[in-house]
Symmetry: C2
Subunit: 402 residues, 2 copies
């Protein structure tokens, strides 16, 4: 019998309790013994929940109970979650989490602590909801030097962009619709400004490249600047606008990581990823490109990933060694020097546009105001682009994915 404590009985935490319950027999076969929820830590009480009798309000009850071998942290944020995770690991308990903010910001410290204590710190659910990505990246692609990770990592923004592209909704209308459908929070900042995608690409990059890449090192641009005019111009050249998190291996083991909207070719598998779905493409030097696809959020998908980690922690009865070795300020480099084609929408005259981007075809758009031009440049790095844009008033500038 394995005893689990769930910290935080919100959407994901209650989903974990439900999955452990309704798939109990199956999970027992996989884990080799029954897995039971012994405690639920929350500030609230849940008298109407079938798990209500297990609620405690004091973490030290869990910390001091030697019967609890796995702690599920689904509190979110970094205050209580960080404190309880440290204390659980120090008490020799494995910790499983869906908390991307905590993993992105403190993953290195917590993995080291778990290693010292001979227990596991597992976070499959922190990226891509139920999509298996952390373990495949760490284990199945272990024979590869990873060259690049590129993904649609945030379902809320992908839903908004899909509705702008498919239904012609403005950003504001699409955001409201996402909120009404429960796909966006009342305060949508973390999603629409790209912070959520940033945390996730940091976790993936840290795992893939073995260095702790921190969110503050990663330039992040959300989708609030994407307009229906941009959607139309992208369509005119057979492309779709997607918010991508990217991490690319550079010489010297450094990593170029950033989050930004991109124009993606209609034939690219990422272009077909719609609504709240996520997809993560990984390039390795032996495997070539592989892609993982599914619902990137939601109660049961995310709980599915948490419970898989619980089963893994039980099966191993010891640390899963993860490599997340060096960190430091120099681990990440700016994408400034990264060459790509660029989509540019700008105000100017035919002459200034031709002078800035000689010979580039202009993209058509029905109803475009006079003096608006849009084009796709040849490959160049950011400084060259900025120099060329000097004589124009740039309205939208996005990279074009190769």
């Amino acid at each position: 019998m394995v005893n689990v404590a769930i910290l935080g009985f919100g959407v994901v935490g209650s989903g974990v309790a439900e999955v452990l319950d309704f798939n109990g027999a199956h999970i027992e076969r996989k884990a080799g013994e029954p897995v039971r929820v012994k405690y639920i830590l929350d500030v609230r009480d849940f008298p109407d929940s079938p798990f209500g009798d297990r609620v405690v309000h004091d973490f030290s009850v869990i910390e001091n109970d030697p019967e609890v071998s796995v702690v599920v942290e689904t509190i979110g944020g970094v205050k209580a979650a960080l404190d309880f995770t440290r204390r659980a690991l120090r008490a020799g308990k494995s910790v499983v989490t869906s908390n991307k903010e905590l993993v992105a910001g403190h993953g290195r410290e917590l993995l080291e602590l778990a290693g010292e204590k001979g227990v596991s710190y597992l976070f499959e659910a922190s990226v891509g909801g139920g999509i298996p990505i952390i373990r495949p990246l760490e284990q199945c692609l272990a024979a590869n030097e990873i060259q690049e990770i590129c993904g649609i990592l945030n379902g809320t923004t992908n839903y908004i962009l899909t509705r702008m592209i498919r239904a012609g909704l403005s950003f504001d209308t699409a955001l409201k619709e996402a909120q009404q459908n429960g796909y966006a929070e009342q305060d949508p900042t973390a999603d629409i400004e790209g912070h959520d995608a940033c945390r996730k690409i940091c976790i993936l990059a840290s795992l893939a490249f073995g260095r702790h890449i921190c969110p503050r090192q990663v330039p992040t641009q959300g989708i609030t600047g994407v307009t229906l005019a941009d959607v139309a111009y992208a369509d005119a050249c057979g492309k779709k606008i997607k918010l991508l998190g990217r991490a690319i291996r550079q010489s010297g083991g450094r990593v170029c990581a950033y989050v930004a909207p991109h124009l993606v070719d209609g034939e690219d598998p990422l272009a077909g990823v719609e609504d709240v779905f996520n997809a993560i493409a990984v390039k390795g030097n032996a495997v070539g490109e592989v892609m993982f696809y599914g619902r990137g959020a939601g109660k049961l998908p995310t709980a599915s990933a948490v419970v898989a980690d619980v089963i893994d922690a039980v099966r191993r009865r010891g640390a899963r060694r993860m490599l997340w070795a060096e960190g430091g300020e120099d681990a990440a480099v700016s994408p400034e020097g990264l060459e790509s084609a660029w989509y540019v929408r700008a105000e100017g005259t035919a002459e200034t546009v031709e002078a800035a981007f000689p010979g580039r075809a202009l993209l058509p758009r029905a109803g475009a105001p006079e003096g608006e031009f849009a084009l796709v440049t040849g490959p160049m790095a950011q400084p060259e682009l900025e120099a060329r844009l000097a004589g124009l008033k740039a309205l939208s500038v996005f990279r074009v994915l190769d």
Copy 2:
């Protein structure tokens, strides 16, 4: 230092040696110690290969060398491969393989033998080439009761179908082109008749449902009956023809598994999987649908998956417990009773077609001969379909994927 022996120095075997060599430093970090190829077993000699000095012709050299802890079996087929795998496992060595024929036919016995000996029998490379699917299915989705697996499991047939759809090539011309490009064998039977896809769906179904599903239990139809007329009719209703392997959970823990061409809706992510790429969609009762995508074959992608298993065998130093419990004749059930819509192309008169499928719209095709009709039926099981087809001359009959 871990010593590995490679059995069979063909495309995949030599790829494994190459990946262990060019990613050696990276693999050492992942495995925790250097991994070296000590022996290569082959009937041939390779005087010009950098690995030529490690070639042996007698398996007992490997079998009796206690320094060899992992054996890579890339011989293929079931004769020597089965004998050597049994002997390696009995000698207490873990075995890693890309041999889908052996795993599909003898996986249960070999997993049991590995379990008895406390070593691993690993076969990530047997399905989907370098695409991580075996480990995700077994570990990452462990919290789920799997409901269905549906995949494009054979790159050769997907290439042929893509060329028929995209370039209007006939089946014969597309097959010849695939052979010229090295995507099809000179004897293409195993691919085009669906046997290869059948082995792979058997492996996935056995893992997902915990029962050994054997190829002879799985009705298998290849793509030799797919014509350009079918491609055109499918296009007329927004669908693409894909060869799918499917395994669906039935009541009582039984599994309905089969391989056949299907009409797939153009919006389905599987429809966008082209050329030699593979994709495997998995439905679980918690995670919903997830999909795995990438190159399903090729020297380095497949070697990437083999080497990942080698690293896993090294890290664990013991058995990876896999559940593949019960087998027997009753594990698989026929898809006869499985309801679906059907695509039917038949010869008949307008009256006989209307009598057989009242009210169904006929699909258009430019240049269709007189007396040819095509339509998509409502949902029904196979016996009902066959009864309705009695008065017509059926030319092509494929299921339509839901």
